[in-house]
């Protein structure tokens, strides 16, 4: 008995593995029916991040409801994507969607192992013949919200909070900065990053502290591209009664009056579209870029923020938008600058 007790902490660990193993052993009756089967692998932010994972899930849900597809999703909790992707691929799902740039390496590996399988990835570029990479022109959208921030700022100082200092986030930051400078040449942009580990996408306490420090230093509008950490920014904006700008999905509703606008990436639509393609048997691998011109990225105006944005401000931003689409304004792209 005593010996058994001595190993009981070890048993705890085993139980833990069973409890939190994300792919539950439950075998959905997936085989028959001939229905379209979609597997969705979400990033760490999870289904309720009110940001890009949430929008991807929305898109897949829409596919489930309108196309009659079967949808299974998993949230990666430890950044270990390979087993999740593999398990979907082994069960021969019609389409496996990986959400988030952190899955690029894992998907490269898994997609080459299952060449018959159709994969899609949101936000990342994977050059394997059976993968569709859905990319967004973040810099273009960020340019516009940067312009809005600069035009709305009274102090002449605006802020940016990134999750981690990685190229994708630099792309946001660079576009944002360029837009702000275009609208108000003497604007000052303060840039902060939440952290250096994957936890940075999920550390609202830290993001809030960063936001408070920026607001305290005179910044009055902050744009954040930090996944689920962004909720910390909104809390800070509410407490300090300043403005914040949402990202990825339309977050205007989260804290009305304090969220100036959101830089929306139409992930929902893109995910739905790829599901539709698969259901019709028209899946095209390759790279799909969604930009301002095709409505793939935009700044959100709705009933929650229309009082915050004046007519003249909107007009000016619309002008920028037209200029970007026509090529009159070249938005700096961090991806290209780097190469």
């Amino acid at each position: 008995m005593r010996a058994w007790f001595k190993i009981s902490p070890l048993l705890c660990v085993f139980v833990n593995f069973f409890v939190c193993s994300e792919v539950f052993a439950e075998e959905v009756k997936l085989q028959g029916g001939g229905k379209l089967r979609i597997g969705l692998v979400l990033d760490r932010g999870g289904i309720d991040d009110k940001s890009f994972n949430a929008s991807a899930y929305e898109g897949a849900k829409k596919a489930r409801d309108t196309l009659g597809a079967v949808l299974k999703y998993v949230e990666s909790t430890d950044g270990n994507f390979v087993p999740l992707l593999t398990s979907f691929a082994q069960k021969k799902f019609d389409l496996v969607i990986a959400v988030g740039v952190s899955q690029v390496d894992a998907l490269k590996k898994v997609a080459s192992q299952f060449p018959q399988q159709q994969f899609a990835i949101v936000d990342g570029e994977v050059n394997v013949p059976n993968v569709k990479s859905i990319l967004f022109q973040e810099h273009e959208g960020s340019f516009l919200v940067g312009a809005i921030a600069a035009l709305k700022s009274k102090s002449g100082k605006i802020g940016f909070i990134g999750g981690m200092d990685i190229p994708l986030i630099r792309r946001f930051a660079l576009g944002y900065q360029a837009g702000a400078k275009k609208a108000q040449p003497d604007i000052k942009v303060v840039t902060n990053y939440v952290g250096i580990t994957e936890d940075s996408w999920n550390n609202p306490a830290k993001a809030k502290e960063l936001a408070v420090s920026q607001y305290d230093s005179g910044v009055d509008v902050i744009f954040s591209a930090s996944g689920a950490s962004g909720s910390g920014l909104f809390d800070a904006a509410e407490e300090k009664k300043k403005y914040a700008i949402g990202v990825d999905s339309n977050q205007n509703w989260v804290k009305p009056k304090y969220i100036l606008t959101s830089m929306v990436k139409c992930i929902t639509q893109a995910v739905f579209d790829v599901c539709k393609e698969v259901s019709r048997g028209e899946f095209h691998a390759g790279i799909q870029r969604n930009g301002l011109a095709d409505g793939g990225v935009y700044y959100a105006v709705d009933q929650f923020n229309q009082d915050l944005l004046s007519k003249s401000l909107i007009d000016q931003v619309e002008q920028f938008k037209a200029d970007i689409i026509s090529g009159k304004i070249q938005v700096p792209d961090y991806y290209k600058n780097k190469k």
């Binding site: 833990n16 420090s213 809390d235």
Partner: protein, 294 residues
């Protein structure tokens, strides 16, 4: 004037960032002074953070949320105390198991309750604490100091950690003293977690403690297992984090700011420096980590 404001804001930020560390370090001190190593602090905080967020969401009262977190930490510690005090399991192994268990249990329950394994619903501003936890944390430090240093029970705790045989000879049940200390310590660590989810942010998110439990443990060792120095060590860690936030995007030379990664390692760097360099003769309680067998 601007410099003055900057300093005031820096201090306020330091206090906020240090709050979870202060609770956890005091919780750890309770346990370790009685002779029980507590590396389960991280897990206890995580559990506290989750329970506080869920309970506040349920009851709409942050006070009840914090109380629930205290109770959760205490109840979770019952398992730990049972393993290490009654059965005499290895305290490091048991503590690690507790951490892993908390890491798995919190998303599991979050998924059951809210359908998402990564975060709980965001709490509106009126259900969150504004400044209270900072004052409570300092209050807890004072209380712990009084309790450990000035009261008879505190003396028993110290003896349980230094010379349990002597305490036993004096007719006091060592195990009971340790049980008490570990449970109260667990509750305090739970409060530390609560301050993270319903004070510093507005919801629980997965693994949101991000190593703060271990930071608290480091502060405790740096503070030589004494309440006031340990609290000061927490404030030092909090300070290095707060100044790290303000130093980002600082330009030292030329036009390029210092790479942000360099500044972000500052808190970890301070931890290593402090533990390796300045700690001096840190003497742990003599019976620390040794199960008491009559």
């Amino acid at each position: 004037m601007e410099v003055f404001m900057w300093i005031v804001q820096l201090m306020a930020s330091t206090c906020r960032v240090s709050t979870p560390l202060l609770f956890a370090a005091m919780g750890g001190m309770m346990s370790e002074r009685s002779g029980v190593v507590n590396i389960a602090l991280e897990g206890l905080m995580l559990l506290g953070a989750f329970v506080a967020a869920a309970a506040t969401d349920f009851t709409h009262s942050p006070v009840l949320g914090a109380f629930a977190a205290f109770m959760a930490g205490l109840i979770f510690s019952i398992f730990y105390a049972f393993f290490v005090i009654e059965i005499g399991s290895d305290q490091i192994v048991a503590g690690t198991a507790m951490n892993m268990l908390a890491l798995g249990l919190t998303p599991f329950f979050s998924k059951i309750l809210y359908g998402s394994s990564t975060s709980t619903p965001s709490l509106p501003i009126e259900f969150r604490f504004q400044y209270a936890p900072v004052w409570i944390a300092f209050g807890v430090v004072v209380l712990c100091w009084v309790w450990i240093v000035k009261t008879p029970f505190g003396l028993w705790v110290q003896f349980a950690g230094e010379h349990p045989e002597a305490l036993d000879c004096a007719g006091v049940c060592v195990k009971r003293v340790r049980w008490m200390a570990v449970l109260v310590g667990g509750g305090l660590a739970g409060l530390g977690g609560a301050s993270l989810s319903i004070f510093l942010s507005s919801s629980f998110s997965r693994n949101m403690t991000a190593g703060r439990g271990f930071m608290a443990l480091a502060a405790l060792i740096f503070g030589k297992w004494k309440p006031i120095p340990a609290a000061l060590a927490c404030l030092l860690f909090g300070f290095s984090d707060a100044i790290q936030i303000r130093l980002q995007s600082v330009v030292l030379w030329g036009n390029e700011p210092v790479p942000v990664q360099f500044i972000q390692i500052l808190p970890y760097f301070v931890t290593i420096l402090v533990l390796a360099g300045f700690v001096g003769q840190a003497r742990a309680p003599q019976a620390l980590g040794i199960p008491f067998v009559k």
